[in-house]
């Protein structure tokens, strides 16, 4: 079975500090994988490196996305190819209207695919339908991107972006942190709606809670920049019950 995303021997640093110390991970098409692990293990760094953030230096290894060398691509090209990173801390953009931002992003990706751009009316119709499906308030479109949004609203706005951009591979970086049960359900629904043979996701989380709504095919434990254990959904339950210490001790 060919992997949609194939990470091999990936190492990365911030400044002189190595964070990822050799990641090997393969996510087949149609699968959802969870990444769990203690704070500071490199989970967020992995998401940023996949999305192409420039202040993270890739020092070795390869990332292949549907046969393409993803590390050679600019962040916008990765997005056009179908990658989406839901940020753990979504960025505020004062003075940038949310609807305008979403439409610009959607049209940039449509343009890259050789599709016609949506005008304001077509876009609003599409966005409102998606928001209704995700039980989101349409008011969110009129505000500036993430400015004055609560933590939950910011995360929901990430899910809305994902719903509109329809990526083939989503990385959710602790999208569940700080969310109440209702918001958690919206996040899970956002991902589940995209599920299919041509959609994969990497869900970074601290908690079993999200995985109850979003059952993963595989669970990986990341510690000190390496994947130290992989297993089925039962691994998440085991970690929830016993904590990371047993797994860490075993790997040491």
């Amino acid at each position: 079975m060919t992997a949609m995303l194939d990470i091999s021997g990936l190492t990365a640093s911030i400044g002189d500090k190595p964070i990822l110390k050799g990641i090997d991970l393969s996510v087949p098409a149609g699968e959802i994988h969870a990444i769990m692990g203690p704070n500071g293990s490199g989970k967020s760094t992995l998401g940023y490196v996949l999305a192409g953030r420039e202040d993270y230096e890739v020092t070795g290894g390869t990332v292949t996305f549907e046969g393409q060398d993803m590390l050679a691509m600019a962040p916008e090209a990765r997005a056009a190819a179908g990658l989406f990173l839901a940020f753990q801390a979504p960025i505020e953009l004062p003075g940038v209207n949310n609807a305008n931002f979403l439409r610009t992003a959607l049209n940039a990706i449509r343009r890259a695919h050789g599709e016609d751009e949506l005008d304001a009316v077509q876009f609003l119709k599409f966005a409102r339908a998606e928001m209704k499906r995700l039980s989101m308030d349409g008011e969110m479109l009129k505000r500036n991107v993430n400015v004055g949004f609560s933590g939950g609203e910011k995360k929901r706005n990430e899910v809305l972006q994902m719903a509109l951009l329809r990526p083939r591979f989503a990385v959710l970086d602790e999208t569940d942190s700080g969310l109440d049960i209702d918001a958690l359900r919206i996040v899970a629904e956002g991902v589940n709606a995209l599920r299919g043979p041509n959609f994969s996701a990497l869900v970074v989380t601290h908690h079993q809670r999200l995985l109850d709504h979003l059952v993963p095919h595989r669970v990986h434990v990341l510690a000190q920049g390496r994947i130290i254990r992989s297993g089925g959904p039962e691994l998440a339950k085991e970690l929830e019950k016993n904590g990371y210490s047993a797994v860490l001790a075993e790997a040491a």
């Binding site: 999305a51 962040p75 997005a79 990173l85 940020f87 960025i91 953009l93 940038v96 992003a105 951009l165």
Partner: protein, 404 residues
């Protein structure tokens, strides 16, 4: 006839000597202004004492130039039109010409401000507005057009009676190398409201040296916004005095510069009476090797209790070679006041750029979006729809010029 070979300050003085007898208004005042200008000179271009108020801006480039008086005509434009400082066309109910009814006002300091002295010496014409008490004059457009080789010194006075209202939109443009040196005096009587929008898009080779004097009486509001995108060298100098209790002055602005443009925004908000409010946000977007200057002072006189003053200067540097000099100052002689000021200088935020790019938006488009967002916020204080639209157009034109 009067061939002027002198350059710089000497050239202006020679022109005054040649046309002295034909200029309208009080000749004693003009002579005094000429004497003041002779001693003050062009800051940075004339040998003499260094003036603190002109610390960051030099008129040295003007020192080697000579200009003629206005004579040209230009195609008609919206509202009242002046070409090279002389009236060309337009009618308005409460409008008169300085050439017909010379009014030097009472707020300017030609003995102290060299640009006011130069204007007082050479002013031939200008727009005079007198809005009677309780009248709403609505929206008035005033267009200034400059032509190559001319220097224009329009003298403008705006007087609003008690409770009167007016929205004045001034637009400035032209072609070639010219000097635009207006002096504007605005009197806002009790409870009156003057919205004063200035859109300066003078020609790239032009010089724009404007001085505004504002006096606001009890409960009156002067709501000013200046956008500077044009001219190789710009100075916007504003002196606003809040003379009556509860007076309000907004001295907002934005400067969008590129190439080797230099624009200096210097203002003084003087709280002379209790419970006054002054607001000022000046935003600069600086590309290329351009240089922005902001000098802002809030003065609170003894007895001006309950003063509320706010002043903010922001600069977005789009190039490592761009520069901003910012000098916010507070001078407070009352004890019950609320005054704050600050300055921020930065480049585009790398995290914001990455966020946009991670959504598929190309780098150049992401940067453009963030600059437009910064500018949109600069225009936030402008509530009049027509003014806002014109300002947005001017901003868009500037941005398109950058992209090209």
């Amino acid at each position: 006839m009067n061939a002027i070979s002198d350059t710089g300050a000497a050239g202006f003085l020679a022109r005054f000597a040649a046309m002295q007898g034909r200029l309208p208004g009080d000749s004693t005042l003009r002579l005094a202004a000429a004497n003041a200008f002779r001693s003050l000179g062009l800051p940075g271009a004339t040998r003499g004492r260094r003036v603190e108020a002109w610390k960051y801006t030099s008129l040295q480039a003007l020192g080697g130039m000579s200009f003629r008086a206005g004579a040209a005509t230009a195609p008609a434009a919206k509202g009242i039109v002046f070409v090279d400082g002389r009236f060309q066309s337009g009618t308005e109910k409460n409008f008169a010409r300085f050439a017909d009814r010379a009014d030097f006002g009472e707020l300017s300091w030609p003995d102290r401000d060299p640009m006011a002295a130069l204007n007082t010496m050479l002013a031939e014409d200008g727009a005079i507005f007198q809005i009677p008490a309780g009248i709403d004059a609505g929206l008035v457009h005033l267009t200034h057009i400059g032509t190559d080789g001319a220097s224009a010194h329009p003298r403008q006075t705006i007087r609003l009676g008690a409770g009167a209202r007016m929205t004045l939109i001034e637009t400035m443009s032209g072609s070639g190398c010219y000097l635009h040196n207006p002096v504007t005096e605005a009197h806002v009587a009790d409870g009156a409201l003057l919205t004063h929008i200035r859109i300066q898009a003078d020609a790239p080779a032009a010089f724009h040296l404007a001085t505004l004097y504002v006096a606001v009486a009890a409960g009156g509001t002067y709501d000013g916004f200046t956008l500077n995108t044009g001219a190789r060298l710009t100075r916007t100098e504003i002196h606003a005095s809040l003379n009556g209790p509860g007076a309000v002055a907004h001295l907002n602005g934005a400067q969008l510069l590129s190439g080797s443009q230099h624009a200096d925004f210097t203002s003084v908000a003087r709280h002379a009476a209790p419970k006054g409010t002054s607001r000022q946000t000046v935003k600069n977007v600086l590309a290329g090797q351009s240089r922005g200057v902001f000098q802002g002072r809030i003065e609170v006189a003894r007895g001006a209790q309950g003063t509320d003053g706010y002043q903010m200067n922001r600069a977005l540097l789009l190039s490592p070679d761009a520069e901003i000099d910012t000098k916010p100052e507070l001078e407070i002689f009352a004890d019950d006041v609320k005054c704050s000021h600050g300055a921020t200088i930065g480049e585009l935020d790398a995290e914001q750029i990455f966020y946009l790019r991670s959504r598929g938006i190309p780098d150049s488009e992401a940067r453009a979006m963030l600059v437009r967002a910064f500018l949109a916020e600069a225009l936030d204080p402008v509530t009049n729809d027509t003014a806002r639209e014109l300002l947005e157009d001017a901003v868009a034109r500037w941005w398109e010029g950058q992209a090209a």
